[in-house]
């Protein structure tokens, strides 16, 4: 009522009292119940969408790389840590030093990460295997990832973002405005990265850190990052079938967003993904970071006229356009890998294959850049379609070159085998999927349970953060 509104307008601005290094959201939430409640609602986005099943070509394209084992669409922040631990990508370590992945894989999953970086130093944090910190990284993405505990100001808790921004140059960290910060807190994680091998000296001991690094020195565009990687002669892995030195793009959400119309009009991620909501006379940011389409009335319609239905239709159309070109590209690239494998088998030389492999590297990079950011079809539709057009061209160029090699080795009629289901594709690349799942389950029932207990014992783990968690994976 009108009277209530007046009262509510006054009842605000409680003074925070949050301990340093507090990583438990429920503790912060005591002071900020509205933000906490909405934050906890990210668990409503709980469905697993298996991308490898949707487009099995990806299994072929990533052969020899963890992504070929398991890759899903993102869910709510509530699940970030859980999914990281459950994915087949992180494998089944049995102790602190078994792999396959490095500590860096925790980086974007928890506020325990900045805590550990402070405690152990950034280089030590990035040294060793993932399992090393299993009993320390115990809370999913939370307040401490984005806020300063003293002032509640938005803050960057990851140094590598600051280094990335400063190297890129168009927005130096020191110049970031409040509105910029409403995007940059997201850019800490929603950006393309690679692990930079860094030798360092720990009081006399030589160690090797795998430091999360943003490849931004030459710019944000697909071609610019490609040039950066080429110059370093960097590759994420060598493709199992085609032997191409490959690049993997991971969610360049921020980099593509800035090319889009909303960024050019001054919007930040939080404008759509954390819109202001009103309760009585009070407004606050919804911390239910998720699809803005769940709340079109309070996001799009703040600035646009039209109906929810119209906006859904517009977005569907954009998605369909992206999917059309992305599907062409993945089909072309998967075939290129298989045809290259055949060429090697038929006796092709490195010299003969070199140019084609370079095309595969660049073509697949562009495709990945365009699709790995799941929102980019909307954030930056034109840039994405442009990049996919380039990807298709390079992929086909590679196939043309390989076809000539095949002809020279008497295999001009080779037809790539069928990879139309996830199972067929996994069989093609010789993956023992059953075994991966078995090992993973052993890990989940064993070491993983230990981690929870140890976290609890140390008093850093927040049981609230996994309340009613159900095991949902692509394989169970």
């Amino acid at each position: 009522s009108i009277k209530e509104n007046k009262a509510e307008q006054q009842a605000i601005n409680a003074v925070p009292g949050i301990k340093d290094n507090e990583t438990r959201a429920s503790e912060w939430g005591k002071n900020y119940p509205r933000q906490y409640d909405t934050y906890m609602q990210t668990r409503k986005s709980e469905d697993i969408t298996d991308v490898l099943k949707q487009d099995p070509a990806l299994v072929v394209m990533w052969a020899g790389y963890p992504f070929s084992k398991d890759y899903n669409k993102p869910r709510g922040h509530y699940y970030a840590l859980e999914d990281n631990i459950n994915t087949l990508r992180t494998g089944a370590p049995v102790d602190k030093i078994t792999g396959p992945l490095p500590t860096a894989c925790w980086t974007c999953k928890s506020p325990d990460v900045p805590r550990l970086m402070k405690r152990d130093g950034e280089l030590e944090f990035f040294t060793g295997k993932w399992a090393k910190y299993g009993d320390e990284v115990v809370n999913t993405i939370g307040c401490g990832d984005c806020h300063d505990n003293q002032t509640m100001k938005l803050t960057l808790t990851r140094e590598y973002l600051k280094r990335g921004l400063d190297a890129e140059g168009s927005l130096k960290t020191a110049d970031a405005t409040h509105q910029d910060m409403r995007s940059l807190v997201c850019a800490q994680c929603h950006s393309e990265y690679y692990f930079k091998k860094t030798e360092w000296d720990d009081k006399g001991t030589k160690k090797t850190a795998m430091v999360v690094t943003f490849p931004w020195n030459k710019g944000f565009a697909a071609e610019k990052m490609e040039a950066y990687y080429d110059e370093l002669n960097f590759s994420d892995w060598t493709h199992q079938l085609s032997k191409t030195p490959m690049l993997k793009a991971q969610h360049p959400d921020y980099e593509t967003f800035v090319t889009g119309v909303h960024s050019r009009n001054g919007l930040a991620c939080a404008d759509c993904h954390m819109p202001y909501v009103r309760e009585g006379g009070v407004k606050y940011s919804s911390h239910k970071v998720g699809s803005p389409l769940d709340n079109i009335a309070n996001t799009c319609l703040n600035c646009h006229k039209g109906t929810e239905k119209e906006f859904r239709a517009t977005i569907d159309k954009k998605l369909a356009r992206k999917n059309e070109l992305a599907k062409i590209a993945s089909d072309v690239l998967a075939k290129a890998h298989l045809e290259a494998a055949k060429a090697w088998e038929a006796g092709a030389t490195e010299e003969e294959m070199k140019a084609a492999l370079q095309d595969i590297r660049h073509g697949q990079w562009r495709w990945d850049y365009a699709v790995a950011g799941h929102g980019a079809f909307f954030h930056a539709p034109e840039e994405i379609l442009r990049t996919l057009g380039g990807s298709i061209n390079l992929g086909q160029d590679a196939r043309l070159k390989i076809r000539i090699v095949l002809a020279k080795h008497n295999a001009v009629d080779y037809v790539a085998p069928d990879f139309s289901t996830k199972e067929k594709a996994q069989a093609l690349v010789g993956m023992d999927y059953g075994k991966l799942v078995e090992e993973k389950k052993t890990f989940l029932n064993g070491l993983r349970q230990e981690w929870i207990k140890q976290g609890e014992a140390k008093g850093i783990y927040d049981p609230e953060s996994r309340k009613d968690m159900k095991l949902k994976t692509s394989y169970n």
Binding site: I2, Q9, I12, Y276, K283, A297, N298, L301, N302, C303
Partner: protein, 170 residues
């Protein structure tokens, strides 16, 4: 049953009286824009108008109420006043208010009445056609399809005018 009826009547009167008091409803009879912002829901629109080219040219009622006759003006005022009060009390409104068809028609009439000279050719043009895009308004096309910023700007969420009239929790 009888008691229930009496109770209901008393309740309605009480609610209404409270409404009249709390919302300074009687002031609606004035044409001072400040009247409209006795409800915080109108703050954004007040604020955007106040920063607009029309600040010194037209008040809320100049655009939003009929200007043809005093009777029509008062009738519309009563209707809107009732509707808005009810919505305010029951909180049936969302973060973005939308102009009603009736109100759109009135506004357009008012734009034209002030700018008749300027838009005379447009009126002549539109008079040639029976089928128009937007049947709500005279001329078949709202002026604010092109003059998108007049006078409220394009972003009109009730929380859009930062910190002015509504407090942000921290």
């Amino acid at each position: 049953m009888k008691y229930l009826a009496i109770f209901l009547v008393v309740a309605v009167v009480a609610v209404f009286a409270n409404l009249v008091h709390e919302s300074k409803m009687l002031s609606y009879l004035s044409s001072d824009p400040k009247v409209c912002i006795t409800c915080h829901t109108m703050n954004t629109h007040y604020d955007t108008w106040q920063h607009s080219s029309h600040r010194n040219r037209a008040t809320c009622v100049d655009c939003h109420l009929p200007r043809d006759s005093f009777v029509n003006k008062m009738l519309a005022k009563a209707r809107d006043g009732y509707h808005h009060s009810l919505a305010m009390t029951l909180k049936t409104y969302g973060p973005n208010l939308r102009i009603s068809n009736d109100a759109a028609r009135r506004i357009q009439d008012n734009c034209i009445s002030c700018h008749r000279e300027t838009v005379s050719q447009m009126l002549t043009n539109s008079a040639l056609y029976d089928k128009v895009e937007d049947g709500r308004v005279q001329m078949g096309r709202p002026c604010w399809q092109c003059h998108r910023d007049v006078p409220h700007g394009t972003m009109r969420n009730l929380m859009a005018t930062q910190n002015n009239f509504i407090n942000k929790v921290l």
